[in-house]
């Protein structure tokens, strides 16, 4: 079976979701990862969405967290303030984050590209719940494309905190959340050095050359001594994902494969 890089990303993200935990989920690939985990190894996970929805059993894929399709089968439907309070309460084990820019310490920019804050080259939507997740979830998983302009040495604007300047800077800051656990890109998985808190490569997706991982990043990529191949999802998992997203709303690569 041909497996796409998006499906590998989703499968790697799903593996981070433990049964019996509470997970804060956003739009896109994390949504699929959460559904996959819940359908397989983590049936008792509670999925929490920024729009105020708790633990839905959607029958149709939602276009976003505000989509009414996400309310189907929910155990509770509240408001944004209520569910974001859960983060600050410290009861969310894992949160997912996307990034226009993520740096080698896992800090995220989702505010500007180019120029400065007052006079940006391009203005992005802004933090939303991302800063809240990055600040207070016990751990986070960052998912983004592997591009030099995206994986940078330092973010232009620090919207959501990772390990700040590295070392114990985050611990000393007073942030209650544990910070990023990993960055999953379409080429590789990074984790963070326990001392320096710099990201390094722990696995490279099957079929990807290590030079592409190095060249595709804007920061100096360190490849860990025990680097592995990212585990491919089982066929049944891939089938599940394609059935969840048959038209390629999020799994655009799978749609292209299907077309041949």
């Amino acid at each position: 079976m041909n497996v796409t890089s998006e499906e590998i990303m989703v499968s790697a993200a799903a593996a981070e979701i433990a049964d019996g935990t509470a997970v804060f989920v956003g739009t896109g690939l994390p949504m699929l990862a959460a559904y996959l985990a819940k359908a397989t190894h983590a049936p008792g996970v509670t999925l929490v969405f920024e729009s105020g929805i708790l633990d839905p059993k959607p029958r149709h894929l939602a276009l976003g967290v505000g989509d009414f399709r996400l309310m189907s089968g929910a155990t509770s439907v509240r408001g944004l303030y209520y569910v974001l309070s859960l983060l600050q309460r410290g009861v969310i084990h894992l949160g997912f984050l996307g990034a226009a820019e993520v740096d080698v310490f896992g800090n995220i920019n989702s505010t500007i590209i180019g120029g400065d804050y007052r006079h940006p080259g391009k203005r992005l939507p802004g933090s939303g719940g991302a800063n809240d997740i990055a600040s207070s979830a016990r751990a986070t998983v960052i998912m983004c494309k592997h591009q030099p302009e995206r994986l940078v040495e330092r973010v232009q604007y620090l919207t959501s905190p990772g390990f700040l300047g590295g070392g114990d800077e985050r611990e000393r800051s007073g942030l209650i959340g544990g910070g990023p656990r990993m960055i999953i890109t379409d080429l590789a998985v990074f984790r963070f050095d326990p001392e320096t808190k710099r990201a390094y490569v722990t696995s490279i997706h099957p079929g990807v050359d290590s030079q592409a991982v190095i060249d595709g990043a804007g920061f100096k990529v360190e490849i860990g001594p025990d680097v592995e191949r990212t585990v491919l999802p089982e066929n049944a998992a891939v089938d599940f994902l394609r059935a969840m997203d048959p038209t390629g709303v999020y799994l655009r690569g799978a749609k292209e494969l299907a077309r041949g």
């Binding site: 105020g52 929805i53 276009l63 009414f68 203005r123 939507p125 933090s127 939303g128 604007y157 800051s173």
Partner: protein, 306 residues
């Protein structure tokens, strides 16, 4: 007390220079008929305090009706950037101040409790606090004498006018909303004046039969107007879905300021009744949802894509 007025009268409450906030999250719950009416009346110089009402923000930016935005995130979920919002910042025509969702919602919640400030654990060590110059986020990092710090203190925020759109309400101003309620409760609690538009005005006995759906009590609401399809192009859970065909068109034309100006002139040239007539009965009926699931079952893939 009968608080029912027309949409036109309701919009007249908002005067140039005021701060406003609207219900809404992504493509839902937004009082868009009210926003169009505000633009029709030519109100400008407004301060928008907004958590997630992307549609209101983008249209008011496109109409040059805002002086300042205090906000946490404006995007068209699934369809990318709010172009008018981005342009307003990039061109320097609107002042702005960024928060996280929780920080801004907390500022509303504090005002709703009659407190001058709130404390959050978000924003610490981020550039959201480090903002420069006269528009930097007003805050104070604080170690409470009881331990458990640090926390970030932020001032509460009470907009002059908060406008919510609900599924139904009564002549006393009680407003019901079904499904996820976004930030409505905190916004309505915070507003110095709260206005409501609702899909239908019903007898109070209808609300009494399902009081758990009432999210804004009438005692907080000054005036209310019956505005069917008042959220269009955003949707209302269990009533009508977001109009994805319209959204696609809007996102396409808003890439170009001139084309957007034409579009805006078109949709604000007429009152809400004529706006609906223009959309046509067929289209409005097609937006009605499957009553069991609460959404439209027959959206095509094209409907989903920008």
């Amino acid at each position: 007390m009968n608080k029912v007025v027309s949409l036109e009268e309701l919009a007249e409450v908002v005067q140039p220079g005021m701060s406003v906030s609207f219900s809404g999250f992504a493509h839902s719950l937004t009082p868009m008929a009210f926003v169009r009416e505000l633009i029709r009346q030519g109100v400008d110089d407004l301060v928008l305090v907004g958590v997630a009402e992307a549609w209101a923000a983008d249209m008011l930016c496109g109409a040059s009706a805002l002086r300042r935005m205090v906000f946490s995130n404006f995007m068209f979920e699934g369809f990318g950037l709010c172009r008018n919002f981005s342009r307003a910042i990039e061109s320097g025509t609107v002042e702005f101040e960024d928060y996280s969702h929780f920080a801004l919602a907390s500022r509303f919640a504090a005002a709703a409790q009659g407190l001058p400030f709130t404390a959050v654990r978000s924003l610490i060590a981020s550039d959201l606090l480090a903002g420069d110059g006269e528009q930097r986020v007003k805050h104070h990092t604080y170690d409470p004498p009881f331990g458990g710090g640090p926390v970030v203190l932020l001032p509460s925020v009470a907009p002059d006018v908060v406008v919510v759109h609900g599924h139904r309400g009564d002549c006393e101003g009680n407003v019901q909303v079904e499904g996820a309620t976004a930030v409505i409760e905190e916004q309505a609690g915070a507003g110095k004046t709260v206005l409501a538009t609702v899909e239908e005005i019903v007898d109070t006995s209808v609300l009494r039969a399902a009081p758990h759906h009432t999210v804004v009590p009438g005692m907080l609401v000054s005036q209310i107007a019956e505005v069917p399809y008042g959220a269009h192009p955003t949707g209302m859970y269990r009533l009508y879905d977001a109009d994805y065909e319209y959204i696609r068109e809007y996102v396409a034309v808003s890439r170009d300021p001139d084309r957007f100006a034409e579009h805006l002139a078109e949709v604000t040239a007429v009152n809400h009744r004529a706006y609906l007539q223009r959309l046509g009965v067929r289209r409005l009926l097609d937006l009605r949802v499957d009553p069991e699931s609460g959404y439209h079952l027959e959206l095509t893939e094209e409907g989903w894509r920008a």
